[in-house]
Assembly symmetry: C2
Homo-oligomer: 236 residues x 2
């Protein structure tokens, strides 16, 4: 049974790291999980990042070990009770997942063994079909934009509505996603505003958190969904 908690962002403005989603994380990591395997590959300072994540998870009552301290990353994935992939730069994260040969391992563990997967921001991006709808700068080039494929659609984390007062002429987020949907066979894109998250349990998907999500589909008008909404149709 596939279990995913895909969070838009790790920190809300003025808040503390993971504070806005700690209840959902605790509900998600049921009694059996004692230690979470952390993947800090999206940031350069892996030690500092792992320390921050460890503190947050310890306060929630879990141990945390970072994959970058393990001798064999694929072996660490094979032994993981739960996986948390943190945010940062999505291109760097996906490239490192391929470089460290853990893409197939994570996919197997989550889809075949039912190991719970938590992603935040870039960690949510890489859980989806591809990183084609990341907001990040392409500072490095992964071998492919194809990602873990734990779900068959895409997510745009940190989804941002257009600012009506802006004089900046760069494309809005919605315009960018529409350009993605100019291509045949482009999958739906769920825009998760900061503060919201998607819970996937086998073939059921539910929106959680405190903000709404906006769903984009090729040749369709965007649709809004509020926390509690059933988005299971995206999984079929």
């Amino acid at each position: 049974m596939r279990r995913l908690l895909l969070i838009s962002n790790s920190t809300l403005h003025g808040g503390v790291y993971l504070d806005h989603c700690k209840d959902q994380i605790k509900n998600f990591l049921t009694g059996k999980v004692k230690t979470v395997l952390f993947v800090p590959y999206a940031l350069q300072d892996r030690d500092g990042y792992a320390d921050m994540a460890k503190k947050a998870f310890n306060e929630m009552g879990y141990e945390l070990e970072s994959i970058h301290k393990q001798e064999s990353p694929p072996e660490a994935v094979r032994n993981a009770e739960a996986i948390f992939v943190g945010g940062g730069n999505t291109f760097r994260l996906l490239k490192t997942l391929y470089d460290e040969k853990v893409v197939e391992e994570i996919r197997k563990r989550v889809l075949q063994d039912g190991v719970p997967y938590i992603g935040s921001s870039a960690g949510t991006n890489v859980a989806t079909a591809s990183i084609n709808t990341t907001n990040d700068m392409p500072i490095v080039n992964p071998p492919t934009f194809k990602a873990l494929g734990l779900v068959s659609f895409n997510i745009n984390p940190h989804y941002l509505d257009p600012d009506p007062n802006s004089k900046h002429m760069g494309e809005t987020r919605e315009a960018r996603i529409k350009q993605f949907h100019e291509y045949d066979d482009s999958p739906p894109v769920l825009g998760l505003r900061e503060g919201c998250m998607l819970l996937v349990e086998d073939n059921k998907a539910t929106l959680h958190g405190r903000t709404d999500a906006r769903l984009f589909e090729r040749n369709k008008e965007p649709k809004e969904f509020s926390p509690g909404a059933d988005l299971s149709f995206l999984l079929s």
Copy 2:
């Protein structure tokens, strides 16, 4: 003699397409140029895009032909008197330049034959060393992020200062460029704010327009430059 006019953005807020840079374009395209070859590959609607560009260039006194209407794009480049590459999605633009086999052709024409090159936004991005510092969404995957290499540094068009009132937690533009500079041998990145442009004539580079540019270099503090500034040191 290499001649480039690299514009941050084609339209200023509330303005008309290419209006803020038409004087610089007319000064740049000296008397000999009658027809400009337009590259509309960054947008899906190539016909509509070419019509808009044709209107703007006709008003400046030039003919414009779009490369997508030519039987052989490489042949069109070999015959071009001047080249204008328009903005849109940088990934789509670079992929199509490779697909149409014009990357080497444009490079040769500009660097060996001195054909004037005008780029705007994505068209400016692809003129540089790589597209590693584009702001665009990676909606398609080009074979490489290596670009035309008409200059050896990178540019970030539509450069945007942090908004002190924002509650959005996505990385600022400066934070994104700093992540690029975490990598060894990453070249300088010139952040061109909307309204400014870089004129390159052989080994001389000068800032033009109405806004300042911000230069980022690995392991250095960012520096500000105003219109008129000599940036030739970036070319060496």
